[in-house]
Symmetry: none
Subunit: 139 residues, 4 copies
Amino acid sequence: MQLFIRPGDDLPIYRQIMRQIMDAIAGGRLTSGDQLPSHRDLSEQLVIAPLTVKKAYDELEALGYIGTQRGRGTYVAARLPRGATAAQASQLEASARGLVSQAYLAGLQLSDVIQLIKDADREISAAPGLQPRKEGRQR
Amino acid sequence: MQLFIRPGDDLPIYRQIMRQIMDAIAGGRLTSGDQLPSHRDLSEQLVIAPLTVKKAYDELEALGYIGTQRGRGTYVAARLPRGATAAQASQLEASARGLVSQAYLAGLQLSDVIQLIKDADREISAAPGLQPRKEGRQR
Amino acid sequence: MQLFIRPGDDLPIYRQIMRQIMDAIAGGRLTSGDQLPSHRDLSEQLVIAPLTVKKAYDELEALGYIGTQRGRGTYVAARLPRGATAAQASQLEASARGLVSQAYLAGLQLSDVIQLIKDADREISAAPGLQPRKEGRQR
Amino acid sequence: MQLFIRPGDDLPIYRQIMRQIMDAIAGGRLTSGDQLPSHRDLSEQLVIAPLTVKKAYDELEALGYIGTQRGRGTYVAARLPRGATAAQASQLEASARGLVSQAYLAGLQLSDVIQLIKDADREISAAPGLQPRKEGRQR
DNA sequence: GTGGTCTAGACCACC
DNA sequence: GTGGTCTAGACCACG
C-alpha cells in the first residue's frame, strides 16, 4: 500500500487521498470490486485522523467511484462514472487551458507541454501506488 | 475589459482574477507596460469587494507580474518572471498529471488529451480577453 | 421463494428482509400459519451470514409477526398485530410526509403521488413475492 | 427560524436537518437564492456540534440543493435538481410501496392512505418552518 | 472489525 | 463574520 500525503500542502489532505485513489483507478491499478483499506487502517498508516480519511471516502462515494457496505468494507464501484458529462468536459477544457497558460508563463512551448502530458500518462499508467487488499490477504 | 468571475467557484475569487490576468499575459494579450484598471474600477465592474481585487493585484505584484506606481496606476511588469523555477516545473508536472488522470476517468485517451492541449493553446493565443487600457483612455 | 437483497443499500440487510416479509404479510401472500424457510436455508439462498437472517426473524418475532416453535420451524403468527398504535400512526404520517416531500422535489404533483400510491397498492396485492413453504414440502 | 431535531431519533441528526430543509424547498418556503443560517448559528440554536450541521449542508450541496460561497454564506441553489432521474423514480416507487405496506399492516385501507397523502401535502405546503435570513435581517 | 454518527474544540483562508 | 479543514477522542449499528 503506497499512499503519500504532504501535510502542509496547498491541497487538503482528504483531497490528496481522493486524487491518489482516482489516479489509481484512472491508471487501472484499482478496478471495480477491489477493496480499499478501512479508513481506520489507512488513517493509522498515514498518521492522520480517521475522520480525514473517511471524508475522502465519503466524497469518493458521493462521486460514485467507490461504495461502502456497512460492516464489510469499502470497494471500488462496479460501474464507474465514466462518460464525459457536459460539466466534466468543460472542466477538462478549463484545466487544459490552465496548464497551457501556466506553461507559457514559464517559457515553455506547445511541444514541451505535450511532452509533459506524455510523461504524465506514463507515470499514471505505470506507478505502483495503492495496493488493494484482495480477499483474505493483508494481516 | 472582459473578466469573468464565478462567485461560488472552487477557486477563490481573487485567484480567479489572478489566473485570468496571468492567462492574458501568457497569451500575449497583455504585455509589459500595459496598464491595468484600478482595483476600484475593476471591483465595481465585477460587483465584488475592492479588497478582493486588491488582494489579487498584491499577489500578482509579489510574484513579479505587475507593478504599481503610486498615483499613476498599475502596469504589467517590464521584466516578466519567465524561466522555469524548480518549483514551477514540479507544479507543472503535477498539473499535467492531474489533467491526464481526470481525462482518463472521463474515458478519454492520450490522443484526446493532446487535442485538448492544442485547443487550449489556440484559445489562449487568440482569445480577445482582458482589454488593456492603453495610455490616456480613462474610464 | 423470491427475496431480494441489495448488499450496499442504505437499509441494513436484516431490515430489507424484515420489510419484504412484512410486505408479503400486508399483501396477503403470507398469512397466519404459513411456514417460513429456516434461517439457515434462507441465508444460504441469499448468500449472507445466517446471523443476519436470524436477526431479521428475531425482530419480526419481537414485533409479533412471526413465531418460532422449537424443532418445528418458524411460522407467521396466528394473531397478527393489527390495530394502529399511536406510534404507528405518527410514523405513518411521517412516512407520508417524507414521500410527498420527496415527490415534490422531483417535480411531481399531488395527483402524481396518489397515482404512485395506487400503483404500489396494486403491486403489493398482486406480486408473487415470498413463496411460503406449505406443509411437508421440505427443501 | 424553526427547525426541530430529536436527538435520540432513528434518523441521524444531520439527516433530520437535511430533510427539513428539503421539505422547506419542496414546500416553497425556501426558494432559490434564499440564504440559510450559518452552520455555526444553526448549531448553536439547535444545541448540537457545528460539524453536524455542516455535514447536513455538505450533503445538501453535493445533492445540488444548496451552494456555498466562501466568506459569504450558504444559499439555496439557483437551479434546483428537479427532473425525475431514473434513480429518483424508482426510489419514489419503493417509498410508496413501503408506505402502503406499512399502512396495510396497521389495518388501513387504500382510501386511508390517500387521505394520509393529502394531509401531508397540506402540511408541507403550509407549514411555517425554517425562516430564511433575507438580506440584512436577523439579529 | 467495519462503517456511521457525534462531540468540542482548533486553525486557516476568504470576503 | 463566513466557510474549509483537521484533531482526538467517543458510542452505536452492522455482519
